[in-house]
């Protein structure tokens, strides 16, 4: 076996498509994953992220395109010959085998005999902190414990690549957050390439080196969590990753400056736009602040509105502000900031440079969960 530092395999998808009759599950998806990287495929259900995982695992054959794992094409190679670890959402432990036999199963298949096999099973169970449960049957374990055993089984044969399909989806929040940290630790210790599928953007931000955002069978954007949050390239990414306020209006250019008409006010933009363009303005909650009506200051953009909802969060407050055109803005403020009550007349204040201007994409209309 290779040393831990070089264990991970690179993955290269080039223009991969998958059709089911007339339904396009994947539409020319290209994705390069570095050896040892933690890549998350993020998107709503039906966006193609799980199909991509199944294509890499060998459960689904591609309709067209190329797929290399570790520099070699795996198109046409059956799943059992790909040597890729897979962790499923529903654990998929063999109910008729004990924990030890489950974890030993891939080693048995590879003809690894007993002193070695037992040692590796113990090591894998140690890594997921399940060493004392070897003699139990899966039905005697909790969901979180079963998933840790499934993880041990998927890494015990030292695969250069580990795929995880919403592995924490069936667990409660506390357990999920703790297991996220465990998965991060195991990734660090193994040096294996991890490809992780989730629809939970927070989970993606916690775990990943990079995130690929999927929508309707395509990748919208690939980048680090920070890039996706600060520099979303599409409205879909902006809405899917993190909270955001979206304002719409027509642009009007005069001389060097461009402004957008939003709710009857001219809002200055940092970028030049062509006259008559209808962009979307995306603002992150922490880039917005609130002031009493008329006290917003002159150097920044202000939009009048009324507090529609005030939520105390402990570490601060979250406000929903209803603007004159009935659009809603979400504002997060810190504890020391001024507090407002429902119905207060306020000004929404933000710097022109903090507003992301994006093309309006009607297809991106979806409800956030």
């Amino acid at each position: 076996m290779a040393s831990p530092s070089t264990r991970g395999a690179a993955i290269d998808l080039k223009s991969v498509s998958k059709h089911y009759g007339s339904f396009v599950a994947l539409d020319k998806v290209s994705l390069h994953i570095e050896p040892g990287e933690f890549m998350t495929l993020l998107g709503p259900s039906g966006s193609g992220k799980t199909t991509t995982l199944n294509v890499i695992a060998g459960f689904t054959e591609v309709s067209s395109g190329s797929l290399d794992v570790g520099g070699k094409s795996v198109i046409g190679v059956p799943a059992h010959k790909r040597n890729i670890g897979v962790v499923f959402q529903h654990y998929a432990l063999f109910p008729h085998m004990t924990v030890s036999r489950n974890v030993a199963y891939p080693l048995t298949l590879r003809g690894i005999a007993n002193p070695d096999r037992e040692a590796r099973v113990r090591k894998a169970l140690d890594m997921v902190k399940m060493a004392d449960f070897g003699h139990r049957f899966p039905s005697e374990l909790s969901g979180g414990q079963q998933q840790r055993v499934a993880l041990a089984r998927a890494i015990v044969f030292d695969p250069p690549l580990l795929l995880m399909d919403e592995p924490l989806g069936a667990l409660d929040k506390k357990l999920r957050e703790w297991l996220q940290l465990e998965i991060k630790r195991i990734h660090r210790e193994l040096g294996t390439t991890f490809v992780y599928v989730t629809h939970d953007q927070e989970e993606a931000l916690v775990l990943s080196d990079r995130i690929a955002v999927f929508n309707q069978g395509r990748i919208e954007q690939i980048g680090t969590g920070r890039q996706l949050y600060d520099e979303p390239e599409t409205l879909f990414v902006g809405k899917f990753v993190g909270d955001s306020t979206i304002l719409r209006g027509a642009a009007s250019a005069s001389g060097d400056e461009t402004a957008i008409d939003i709710a009857g006010r001219k809002v200055a933009t940092a970028k030049r736009l062509t006259d008559g363009a209808i962009p979307v303005m995306l603002l992150r909650p922490e880039k917005l602040s609130l002031a009493r009506r008329g006290k917003g200051g002159q150097d920044r953009n202000t939009l009048p509105g009324r507090i529609g909802e005030a939520i105390y969060l402990g570490s601060g407050s979250k406000y929903e502000v209803v603007l004159a055109d009935a659009s809603k803005a979400i504002v997060r403020s810190t504890l020391d900031a001024e507090t407002f009550a429902i119905g207060d007349e306020v000004d929404l204040v933000f710097a022109a440079s903090d507003a992301k201007l994006l093309a309006d994409d009607e297809n991106a209309d979806f409800t956030l969960t």
């Binding site: 010959k81 897979v86 063999f94 008729h96 039905s139």
Partner: protein, 296 residues
């Protein structure tokens, strides 16, 4: 208690449900009494009389059993009865296993059709179905016409053990398929995907994951089919010849033709005991070690 009070709007309060359960438990005997009575009067009593007469006719003693075990022909028939039943079980298993698997793999519409194909024969009397087999299996029947047309020559099917096995297997097949299906539909097919990802070829994934998980259904179906086959009467009587006689035919012969209730009863008791012994031997197989003592 408090839980019962807070849930009272949506569900039966726990206290009330508990009370109801306690009431049922107290009255349980009277609720099962009709079924017990039926069992005693319609099964226990006749069985007791048959057993009694096997010892008492024509006089008290073991003469009927001595006769049974003393006549080689009886032992041959007993042995054949078990052999035919074993063959029928095997044929049902081989035909029923893929069929039951198919039922779990197809969509709901196809599944309905497959279930109907299993159940429709239940609605047709066994005699009619057996007579249909007489037509199919006879020397100038459909099956032999096809075989002859294929140039494989006529094959003797009717009045042979093969004919009996074919006919019985067809009648008993649903008793194999239904238990198999009920177990197979609980098997998570994603386990096969998991096995493949771990390096198992489809054949190994089946042998090491699917097959072991389906075994409870195999045992249940096999036991039901085997026991029903042991006591089968109409099909072997109509499809079999003198060299494929089963015990039930001998019993019928003793009781109805020779009016010898003692000997007929003795044969029945032997068959019953043999069945019980078999059930006792098979019982440990149907117990699943991994399902006991699990989460509660």
């Amino acid at each position: 208690m408090t839980a019962g009070a807070t849930d009272s709007r949506t569900a039966v309060p726990a206290v009330v449900a508990d009370d109801r359960r306690r009431w049922f438990r107290g009255q349980a005997f009277w609720l099962v009494a009709p079924a017990l009575l039926l069992l005693v009067v319609c099964l226990g009593l006749p069985l007791a009389i048959v057993t009694l007469r096997s010892f008492s006719e024509p006089q008290w003693g073991l003469q009927n059993y001595a006769w049974f075990f003393g006549a080689p022909v009886n032992l041959t028939v007993l042995q054949r009865t078990f052999a035919i039943s074993a063959w029928v079980t095997l044929v049902c298993l081989i035909a029923g296993y893929p069929y039951a698997y198919l039922m779990t793999a197809v969509g709901p519409k196809m599944r309905l059709i497959l279930i109907l194909c299993v159940l429709v024969p239940f609605w047709v009397s066994g005699v009619v179905r057996t007579l249909a087999w007489v037509i199919l299996l006879q020397d100038s029947g459909v099956i032999n016409s096809v075989i002859r047309a294929a140039g494989l020559g006529p094959v003797k099917l009717i009045r042979t053990q093969t004919g009996v096995v074919i006919g019985m297997a067809q009648v008993l097949l649903p008793f194999m398929i239904l238990p198999l299906y009920s177990v197979m539909k609980t098997i998570d097919l994603r386990l096969m995907q998991a096995a493949r990802s771990l390096g198992a070829s489809p054949a190994r994934a089946f042998a090491q994951v699917y097959l072991p998980l389906s075994l409870p259904g195999v045992y249940a179906g096999a036991i039901i089919v085997f026991i029903l086959a042991l006591g089968f009467y109409i099909t072997p009587a109509l499809l079999g010849g003198p060299r494929s006689t089963m015990l039930s035919t001998l019993i019928q012969n003793q009781v109805l033709s020779l009016l010898n209730w003692g000997r007929g009863g003795a044969m029945g008791v032997v068959l019953l005991i043999a069945t019980f012994v078999l059930l006792a031997l098979a019982a440990p197989l149907t117990r699943q070690p991994h399902k006991t003592g699990s989460r509660r």
